[in-house]
């Protein structure tokens, strides 16, 4: 795990970028903060790259960073049709946890969580990773029993997880309503203390800066229009900024995966759905953890700015519109107000939707394809943010070595033919 952490010393990043530190802030203040270096270059596309990553979100930038940092590749480009982190990386509710039921899921999400724990140091960028705990609530006897089974499975995988009763929950989260008379009363819950939140933009920016430092070209406002192939082998990509020659393409475009796949006549078992979230006006601290509820489809945390951040399940029909329909937030807010009556007169500030690529078994696809040199990392559905570093780390390994490592292997596209699904629908801890 430590192998990818280069020795930064005190001077700066390995590629020569000056180091961010409290001392640097004080020093730059003398000059009214006018001479900060750009965090990454605004690169123009070169004619040829060894690897092109399509998609400049957290997963794509992490992939590029680990390709450079772990696998020593230098000639890499990240192509983004909009701006960095403007897709689902900037549209999620930033929850991080690794308390999944199945071994395959535990392996990849725990791999990610361990990378989260060192990410700020690794990237020399404060991603504000806050291990404030993630508490998932059960609202019925049955759910509580299923939950304890899951907790045992999670603990067998060496991941921290514990069951709390209603009184313990009330002590942990004083603002919650544990009155047994409500429609979906709090019967108990399970807590992962190492879970928490991070600042989503900082993740994209931190990976972008560290990747750029290692020579990765980050090309924004550049949309892929076609994939060029010769005898089922990738030879390059057509973009809105011209043709780029490359033998290897890693596709990490979330909701648009099916669109890119269609350019190579590949069909993926994905459905693109809107996932909505909203934030309230900022208030004083009332919630210092993350609360999730599977049964009433709601999750809530409080940002460092004081906004309540809320999310729910996906909309029920396919869409590429980056907006959802109103019944979903209405349902989510009804659940939030019942569990937290203190929120009832809070005004909502912003509301948005992102397009997530959901898989039939609610697990991602990290896979080679029938086209040589074309790799897909998609299908993260509603839970991609938490996996960002782990996803990038194993995907970089897949691209560099042209074979999946132990963690990535179960996520092969072939599992839909062999039947070796990783069915996390009910077990994931949140509605998919």
């Amino acid at each position: 795990m430590a192998s990818h952490q280069p020795d930064r010393g005190q001077r700066g990043l390995p590629g020569g970028k000056p180091k961010y530190s409290a001392f640097a802030i004080a020093k730059k203040a003398m000059n009214y903060h006018q001479d900060w270096q750009r965090a990454w270059r605004d690169a123009a596309p070169k004619d040829e790259y060894d690897v092109v990553i399509i998609g400049g979100g957290g997963h794509g930038l992490a992939t590029a960073y680990y390709l450079a940092a772990v696998h020593g590749m230098a000639n890499i480009a990240v192509i983004e049709k909009g701006w960095l982190g403007g897709g689902n990386t900037g549209r999620n509710t930033t929850i991080i946890r690794s308390n999944y039921l199945w071994d395959e899921s535990a392996a990849i999400y725990e791999h990610a969580l361990k990378l989260w724990e060192g990410m700020t140091q690794d990237l020399n960028y404060n991603v504000m990773f806050s291990q404030r705990g993630v508490l998932t609530i059960a609202h019925s006897e049955h759910e509580l029993r299923e939950m304890s089974r899951r907790v045992h499975a999670i603990r067998l995988n060496g991941i921290d997880s514990e069951i709390l009763g209603p009184a313990e929950i009330k002590k942990f989260v004083p603002t919650i309503n544990i009155d047994q008379s409500i429609r979906y009363p709090v019967m108990g819950g399970f807590l992962q203390k190492r879970g928490g939140t991070a600042r989503h933009d900082a993740v994209a920016w931190g990976y972008a800066r560290a990747a750029d430092d290692l020579g990765v070209d980050i090309i924004q406002n550049c949309e892929v229009t076609a994939l060029r192939r010769e005898r089922s082998k990738i030879t390059g990509i057509e973009t809105t900024r011209g043709f780029i020659k490359t033998p290897r393409v890693g596709c990490v475009v979330a909701g648009h995966s099916s669109v890119i796949a269609a350019m190579a006549d590949i069909r993926l078992p994905l459905a693109s759905r809107p996932l909505q979230a909203l934030v309230s006006e900022p208030i004083k601290p009332i919630l210092d953890t993350v609360i999730m509820s599977n049964a009433v489809h709601m999750y809530i945390s409080q940002s460092d700015k004081g906004e309540m951040v809320l999310g729910a399940g996906v909309d029920k029909y396919n869409s590429y519109a980056q907006r959802g329909s109103f019944p979903v937030p209405e349902h989510m807010l009804a659940a939030a107000v019942e569990l937290f009556p203190v929120l009832s007169r809070l005004r909502m500030l912003r509301h948005w939707g992102g397009i997530v690529d959901t898989c039939p078994d609610a697990s991602p696809i990290i896979s080679k394809t029938d086209v040589e040199g074309l790799y897909f990392n998609c299908g993260w559905g509603t839970g991609g943010f938490k996996a960002t570093p782990g996803s990038g780390h194993v995907f970089a390994d897949l691209i560099a070595n042209d074979r999946p490592n132990k963690i990535a292997a179960p996520y092969d596209l072939n599992r839909f033919r062999t039947g070796l699904l990783i069915d996390e629908h009910g077990a994931a801890g949140v509605a998919h």
Binding site: L270, S272, N318
Partner: protein, 139 residues
């Protein structure tokens, strides 16, 4: 919020409906003779187009009947509502139906044959499935 014109009840809000995903998927009739890949296509692969999409909906909080919709997944515009078992009439929707890779699957062809010649059903299905093992057209 979509306003969906239920063919039986008239225009209602989307919260009364359930979406059943891609329409016009034929179940493979010759289950024993088709390949795993083809059965996986039937089970798991769903079209996920950016643009016009033909899908099934059910008026679950109303008449509870199924019907088909041709809807744009970017604008959310519903261009046609048509009954189960029928093809759309609008030109664009009909072209979407014809262009789908599913039209080339053995399952679909077997289903077509079965519909045309019900008397010779079992023998025909197996032959059709064997002729095109795992064929997935590039349309």
């Amino acid at each position: 919020m979509l306003i969906i014109n239920c063919p039986h009840c008239g225009p209602r809000e989307e919260s009364e409906f359930a979406c059943g995903g891609e329409a016009h998927i034929a179940r493979p009739l010759a289950e024993n003779s088709i390949s795993d890949a083809e059965f996986a296509d039937y089970l798991f692969l769903r079209d996920n187009p950016k643009g016009l999409f033909l899908e099934r909906w059910r008026h679950s909080a109303g008449c509870r009947r199924w019907f088909n919709i041709a809807r744009d997944t970017v604008s959310h515009e519903i261009i046609e509502v048509y009954p189960m078992g029928a093809l759309p009439r609008k030109k664009d929707a009909l072209a979407t139906h014809a262009a789908s890779w599913r039209r080339d699957t053995a399952a679909e062809k077997a289903a077509e044959r079965a519909a045309q010649k019900p008397a010779q059903k079992p023998a025909r299905q197996k032959a059709a499935a064997k002729k095109a093992p795992g064929k997935r057209g590039g349309k």
